[in-house]
Symmetry: C3
Amino acid sequence: MRNNHGGHDNIKESSEHMKRTYAMFQDVHVMIFIGFGFLMTFLKKYGLSAVSLNMLCSVLSIQWSILVQGFFHPHCEDPHIPWDDCPSSWGWVDINVMTLLNADFATAAVLISFGVVIGTTTPLQLLIMVFLEIVVFNINEYVGRGEIMTVDAGDTIFVHMFGAYFGLAASRVLYSKKHADSENAGANNISDLFSMIGTIFLWMFWPSFNAGAAAEGDAQARCVINTYLSLCACVMSAFALSSFLAPDRKFVMEHIQNATLAGGVAVGATADMVITPLGAIVIGFAAGLISTWGFHYATPFLSSKWKINDTCGVNNLHGMPSLLGGMLSVLLAGIANRDMLISLNEIFPMHPEKGSGWQAGVQMSGIVVTLLFAIVGGTITGFVMKKVGEVTRNNDTTVHHTHNGSMTTATVVKSKTAIPQELLYDDNAFFLVHQFEV
Amino acid sequence: MRNNHGGHDNIKESSEHMKRTYAMFQDVHVMIFIGFGFLMTFLKKYGLSAVSLNMLCSVLSIQWSILVQGFFHPHCEDPHIPWDDCPSSWGWVDINVMTLLNADFATAAVLISFGVVIGTTTPLQLLIMVFLEIVVFNINEYVGRGEIMTVDAGDTIFVHMFGAYFGLAASRVLYSKKHADSENAGANNISDLFSMIGTIFLWMFWPSFNAGAAAEGDAQARCVINTYLSLCACVMSAFALSSFLAPDRKFVMEHIQNATLAGGVAVGATADMVITPLGAIVIGFAAGLISTWGFHYATPFLSSKWKINDTCGVNNLHGMPSLLGGMLSVLLAGIANRDMLISLNEIFPMHPEKGSGWQAGVQMSGIVVTLLFAIVGGTITGFVMKKVGEVTRNNDTTVHHTHNGSMTTATVVKSKTAIPQELLYDDNAFFLVHQFEV
Amino acid sequence: MRNNHGGHDNIKESSEHMKRTYAMFQDVHVMIFIGFGFLMTFLKKYGLSAVSLNMLCSVLSIQWSILVQGFFHPHCEDPHIPWDDCPSSWGWVDINVMTLLNADFATAAVLISFGVVIGTTTPLQLLIMVFLEIVVFNINEYVGRGEIMTVDAGDTIFVHMFGAYFGLAASRVLYSKKHADSENAGANNISDLFSMIGTIFLWMFWPSFNAGAAAEGDAQARCVINTYLSLCACVMSAFALSSFLAPDRKFVMEHIQNATLAGGVAVGATADMVITPLGAIVIGFAAGLISTWGFHYATPFLSSKWKINDTCGVNNLHGMPSLLGGMLSVLLAGIANRDMLISLNEIFPMHPEKGSGWQAGVQMSGIVVTLLFAIVGGTITGFVMKKVGEVTRNNDTTVHHTHNGSMTTATVVKSKTAIPQELLYDDNAFFLVHQFEV
């Protein structure tokens, strides 16, 4: 729950919410369902699964998230009475447009983790991940934003960092050499073009993601403008480094699809601060470099040395840029002087009297706590997913019918992982598919 | 014309309209042109026709609809004078953003009927259908919403039910066994992915469809939240039943593309009422089950027993869920007590003194009248379309050139239906197409 | 910088901007990145390059444009003091949501020129074009809109006419017979479907493009409604003439993808005037005819007789319709009587006392000046681009590796143009691509 602007309970506020937030909420909604969904269709044989499982996980995440958030932020039956003064101990879940927006933010974290393990996990494993991750996500946000008072306008820390390292930890537990060796894991020029639909919708609407829950007025406008400029600069550095690293100085689609978005991640935690347009451009430029570098060097390294398979390169798009963005929020809180903190008290709402050192420590604590919750939570979730994969294996994988036009081929499969090797990253694993024929 | 909020005529209201309705209007516009257009590209050889003819029919429908709606709702030249007091009998058509939104709603009904007969009808037949359907649509809405006073915030009855049964009635008249037997009628994994673009944009923006013309404030917020929750639940039940019905427990793309949307249809008529979040979820869940069941059982049954060919499964997505939604509006009007009706008088604007039984009867009458208009109107339109198909047949179908890269093949064709069998569901029937080559 | 509504500098206005303009800005943003980007994916082998280079050129254009516009419209450090009274001569660039919107408008001009030369130019040549074109664009707009006071609500003259003739002039300089002869320049049914994503998003959001910077209230509502109606009529005439011109009376996708949009171009300059709904429909209908005719006759003529290669048919979609629209603005300014001009003084802000003949001359001058700047600027830019292509040729084109699945083929190439013939309109020229395999 990003916003702390008090209770919004009566008809006027309901109308005001619709006017002020609904268009931005729909932008974020497009990012969740079209953006994430199509971004992951780059897998040449897994497009239908990517966009459909993205939809399934998201709706479960949204509904479960509304309940869990409601548990952490209960309301009195008469919404004008604050919860602490409520005569009854029976809490109500308040649902308004901000609730839907916050559910979308939580879902973004889930989808980031989904991007790490896509193609190597069963739908049942994914649904279990959603259930557990939403709970840990809400505990972490309650502690980090609510208790520690870490500031994070664009959810760099609480969504991107949390989702990335939760998923990477789970992927470490689920590791199998077969995942990395599969020939299905690549792209082709048609799947790459579908993926660009996702990339561009994410890129365009990212300012709404970072500004959706910001304080109205100047802070919100700063969020939009800083994010927009950071994203522009990030595209330039991603293209430049991509052609520098690739053979023949050609551009690599994987970089363009992903690293162009890292500027939105990195600027999130400081997007509502006075970082100046040049500052936003520098942040975005650096994020594009780090992310592109990551696809070239870090992903193969993680796979071979650390035994972490990262299907979509989530560490490069969400992981490392969120570390950069989180550190920037420590730095900026640390160098802000006291007058600035007080004038920015809509952004740093607590302890302005304690000065900037205190706020820098608060930011650092939020990062450390988030990494802890993500890695421990992700590891435990990974073990549960692995166990579920082993238990359901025998029931699922006896006979597979592959539909190819009018012909149907039956294959008997035995395997130690949840999905047999030849059906990794393949729509035929869980979807009834008719192959394209010329 | 869904809204009854009096005349909006001066500069201030023009500006207010833009602020309040324009973003939602654009969401609905996306549903009409991208949503419906791409949803129907699932046909493996008919994607270009689907999206292009969707565009052509829509623009004719929009323009014709503005005129016909203007005829049913005339304005005085001085817009401040109500029409009944107007000194002149010469009516003016008032055009504002609400007019454009209402034209899009009427177009949705036309496109639903279009989905029944797509691939088996000529562009000329479709344009005739648009012309006739818009007239019947407006008469029905004038009678149902204007005279009978049936309440239907999300157009479950006046758009979805009307469009579905109008199209199904026309399709019964146009039936040919060749339509059902065509091998072109299927999908492949690329056309399925294009279709998901349509599905997801429809799914995301459905809250705007149901809330676009609702009374500002709480009623509009309820429309958004109820529709959103119903759609989420619908996705879950559609996926669950799909994997239960299909061989090998796999998911079927046809279900995911269509049945996931049935929750938006079913909740429409009651979306602005106080159905509670749980109620919305139950409605959506039931709609997803009914719709998925329909694709598995009802469509083959309609085709073989009732001789109704339903290309896109419109009966499953719009027909049966709208019957469910209509009946729910009868039920909810029936159980509402008098105080509730009076407090909800922005929703039930008339006869609160007559009680809930009266309003339940009003809802039921609206449904019966709509079904009558749809089935009679669709049957007559079907006969006109059939006649036109027979008349134009000889002129159109002499020689067909199929372009395949640089090679052109000429085929001489004789046939009894408007389109020769091998060109059913085939872009080559009416579009100059260059086939994909590897 | 389309809007002249004074300085918007304080918190209230920042919040007001967000509410009033942000949703329309995002519509325009979608037009730039999805609309233009996917429209150009019709090229069967060049989809990834089209959408990626569209993104790269746009972000450079946006950032450079904010700087150049800031140079032409400096602000005082205290934004409440007008620039002329500013004690310092050091200007500041004011960035708000309107700035971002105006940067998108300037980028549209660049992308129009990009559409002329796409597939035949290197990324470096394109980036140089962006740099030079943005400077000339801003000088022309400063002279035309700022000094001459030409009225152009939808940027028919300053964006569409300027961008089209700038690009065509550059293309004349860059002409090579190889460009026109390439077999890669065509489409197929999959690339045509991707292209329709671009077409439809451009078509739907064009009302936001024409109304985004209009005066609030009635003028803005007129922009929306006139553009919407013109676009509807344009679709009808484009389809009709397309089937009339093509063999077998079939529809041609190139016409549907492009000519359906000409109504938005043609109505732009007069969209905020009282042209009546019928007037808007007539304008759109005419634009659709001219544009479709252009694809059939003018493009081949330009290529063979005038040696101008126009990859996307920009002359038909933006060039000729903008000439029609510009002339209509001359005509309408000429026939407006004095009272009308004064009542419309939010539209014609200056010289109402000088009468309609004066305003007609002002419109005509704006057109002539724009054509001059476009053609001279485009020609000079073309020579610079040609020189750059010659210089970089030898470094770039020695060995090309074509990746096809796991196989890699190396080709040694020598050529006189910037791109060797077999890599014209081919993703493999600058992108690392894995070809689709069945």
